[in-house]
């Protein structure tokens, strides 16, 4: 138990000092959130922890339910731990905030990250709101990340202790309001420790494989099948980045991602080709050699700061930071500068200048920014324009 260390755990507000802290733990039916619930019960007891599984996706059928097997696993783990378990039906919000933007993004030639939008709108907005309404002080999840309270009272979001499983990237849109109400009980543990703990406790989810891919797309349907049922997919041309020469055709422009290598073939020099741009209205995919797949800078919109406001420096000479452009990518040095005159629709904009050329990141993807001096600490995030 000595490794359990939640400095970010919120104290009961002064208005209800006599009341015990109560935590609602989001249980997906996986091993991480199962152990998260178990650790909370260790610390708080069964009366102050309640499990909740979110029904997010109804699938094709009108009467269809969320993955009943996963809900069963979550409920049985809750039973085993001796805590109450509820299922919350957030499928309408999930459709509106995650699935529809995902489909619309691809139709426009961008590559959205649905997990991040689910965290932004469902787990850390809708669920936090629901938990507050029900009298809980915090929501816990099985994410590999950590929250710390700074001496000045601000909340820091830190990478999980297991660098290989760190999930701070998908939480980089959280602000002070959410962090004050979030608990990540497994953030101090390695995945191996978690599985060993789950096995030791005899949890039925101990050996369950990690979830992969997009949760609302069935593996036998695939991304192409899922999108093809919802929006028209258009064949297009493959065009050389430099010469503009026509290099052949692609089946569906909407399924191609900037940075993609697979299926793009090789140049005349035998080197692999990379996608440098996708233009859906023009039905055009631009490809180039490896050096063309690199860029010096990115523009971001939908900016979120952990401190809720832009750090000093972004409006001046620029903030020295680290940028990470995928869930388990490497964070690289960059300078972040505010771009005045955002168009209002997307809110503020940021320019990220890389210290060394960086592979292009598809529009729609999220870039998480970390503190140059404290590389485990999240500063904020934005979505690539």
């Amino acid at each position: 138990m000595s490794t359990v260390h939640w400095t970010g755990f919120p104290a009961p507000s002064s208005a209800c000092e006599t009341r015990d802290v109560r935590v609602l733990v989001a249980m997906s039916g996986g091993v991480d959130s199962s152990v998260a619930a178990a650790l909370l019960v260790d610390r708080l007891g069964t009366d102050r922890v309640v499990g909740a599984t979110l029904k997010l996706w109804g699938g094709d059928s009108d009467s269809g339910c969320c993955s009943v097997a996963d809900v069963d696993d979550a409920r049985r783990v809750a039973d085993q731990l001796g805590i109450v378990h509820h299922v919350f039906n957030f499928s309408e919000e999930f459709e509106k905030h995650v699935v529809e933007p995902y489909v619309a993004g691809h139709a426009a030639g961008t590559t959205p990250n649905p997990c991040i939008e689910c965290n932004r709108h469902l787990k850390f907005d809708r669920l936090v709101e629901r938990s507050t309404a029900l009298g809980f002080d915090a929501v816990a999840t099985g994410h590999h990340a950590r929250v710390q309270v700074a001496p000045d009272g601000r909340y820091h979001l830190l990478r999980g202790a297991d660098q290989a499983k760190d999930q701070s990237y998908v939480l980089a849109m959280l602000g002070q309001h959410q962090l004050a109400r979030s608990v990540f009980p497994v953030g101090e543990r390695t995945k191996d420790e978690l599985r060993a703990d789950a096995l030791r406790r005899g949890l039925r989810t101990a050996t369950k494989p990690d979830s992969q891919d997009v949760c609302f797309i069935r593996s036998d349907v695939g991304r192409a099948g899922f999108l093809g049922e919802r929006v028209p997919l258009h064949a297009g041309r493959l065009v050389d980045h430099v010469s503009g020469a026509d290099l052949g055709g692609v089946d569906a422009v909407e399924l191609v991602t900037v940075g993609q290598r697979r299926g793009m073939g090789h140049g005349t020099d035998g080197r692999r080709r990379f996608v440098t741009a996708v233009d859906v209205p023009a039905r055009r995919v631009t490809v180039g050699p490896p050096e063309a797949s690199l860029t010096d800078r990115l523009d971001l919109h939908t900016i979120a700061w952990v401190d809720d406001c832009a750090p000093a420096g972004t409006t001046g000479a620029g903030l020295a930071a680290l940028a990470q452009s995928s869930a388990h990518g490497t964070a690289v040095p960059c300078t972040v500068t505010a771009v005045p005159g955002g168009d209002g629709h997307e809110g503020d904009r940021l320019s990220v200048a890389f210290a060394a050329p960086h592979k292009r990141v598809a529009p729609g993807q999220t870039v998480a920014l970390y503190d140059r001096d404290h590389p485990d600490r999240v500063v904020g995030s934005g979505i690539v324009r």
Partner: protein
């Protein structure tokens, strides 16, 4: 944490009647045999089964040969809609695709059986919306009943609202607009509160024991007016070839005993529960602003009080009330336990937010004044907290 709990989910399942438990115990212990055998042990079980069937048939106003014992209401609905369709219309031909009609407010057991029938046979499914008072819209029903219609299903009492459907008028509309059509009615929520005659106009009627003090896992389909069904389960040909499988003898005996007890004290129960329900409804209305009670009281069964709580998500209210020791339900629960937005409220033309604001308090034989007092004490606080 809040003292004694109060159970207001009798329409989901009401506790076993003591009479049912007592009647069942010998079948679970001494008279354990398969009733289909040719020995003394089997004969004892057989007699118990036959007696139970006779009793259920008599209490529901049909002959003993006009009852098919099923595993419950859902199987009875499936047997009626799919098996009832096949029995009459499998070989029929006509202009255009055949049509099955049901109320949009039907229980999922009926809705999904109709959808499955449509997929299997190529039939067209027409659903009939509800009026704002929670009854099926007879004008729309008349409009959709025409050539091609072969089966119509309208429930006797809606399970969420408790609203009694105008089944005799439905039967008149169907007989006038589409003569010869099979009429089915899911009477699962009617049996605890109303005489069987209310659904007597239908050819096929579904009932379920655990709604009136019998055990789960037993129900029946009544065949009236010479109606027949094609079996949905093949096998040893039990239930006169209409539903195979070793009979649930203890279940049938429990259902018969529960039904006898229900019918025996029904008038007194209805009077007592109506008083409790109205005290609950009036008391909540006087303590909580912006509550809407669904359906007119005079047109509802005694046991159901359905409230729409403006500005509150029923899913959250159910959780909060559970913590406060009050068991209620919201809409229909799917197999995962999630609350689905109410298709019943949507069928009345309510917007999605209103359709998510409905909670059902359902009372039963065991409901007491103390239960109502607890609800009147705790429910307003929970609503106030969520509205805060």
């Amino acid at each position: 944490m809040s003292g004694e709990r109060a159970y207001f989910d009798h329409a989901a399942t009401t506790p076993l009647r003591p009479e049912a438990l007592e009647a069942m115990l010998p079948l679970l212990t001494r008279d354990y045999a398969n009733p289909s055998g040719a020995h003394a042990e089997s004969r004892r079980a057989r007699i118990a089964l036959d007696d139970a069937r006779d009793q259920v048939a008599e209490l529901l106003g049909v002959g003993p040969g006009a009852i098919v014992l099923t595993s419950g209401g859902t199987e009875a609905d499936d047997l009626a809609i799919q098996g009832g369709w096949d029995a009459v219309w499998a070989d029929a031909t006509g202009p255009g695709p055949p049509v099955v009609v049901c109320a949009a407010m039907e229980h999922h057991a009926v809705l999904e059986a109709c959808r499955a029938l449509a997929r299997r046979t190529g039939a067209e499914l027409r659903t009939v919306p509800s009026r704002p008072d929670g009854t099926v819209d007879l004008d729309v029903l008349a409009g959709v009943c025409g050539p091609g219609v072969r089966l119509v299903s309208v429930m006797t009492v809606n399970n969420e609202l408790g609203t009694i459907q105008p089944l005799d008028a439905v039967a008149d509309v169907v007989a006038t607009r589409a003569p010869g059509v099979v009429l089915h009615s899911d009477a699962v929520q009617a049996v605890p509160w109303m005489d069987a005659s209310v659904s007597a106009a239908a050819h096929l009627v579904s009932v379920s024991a655990h709604k009136f003090g019998g055990p789960k896992g037993i129900g029946a389909l009544l065949l009236r007016h010479g109606a027949t069904v094609t079996p949905r389960i093949a096998g040893g040909g039990q239930e006169r070839g209409r539903r195979s499988g070793t009979p649930n003898v203890a279940g049938a005996v429990g259902m018969a005993a529960a039904l006898l007890a229900t019918v025996g004290d029904r008038d007194a129960t209805v009077a007592r529960v109506t008083t409790l329900r109205d005290r609950l409804g009036d008391g909540l209305a006087s303590r909580v602003p912006d509550l809407v009670e669904s359906g007119r009281r005079a047109d509802r069964v005694a046991g159901i009080l359905h409230l729409r709580v403006a500005g509150v998500e029923a899913e959250a209210l159910v959780v909060l009330l559970d913590e406060a020791g009050i068991a209620v339900s919201a809409g229909a629960a799917c197999s995962s336990g999630a609350v689905e937005p109410s298709h019943v409220l949507a069928s009345m033309g309510l917007d999605p937010a209103a359709a998510r604001s409905g909670v059902r308090f359902s009372l039963g034989v065991a409901t007491t004044d103390e239960d109502v007092d607890r609800a009147l004490d705790r429910v307003p606080r929970a609503i106030e907290r969520l509205r805060n």
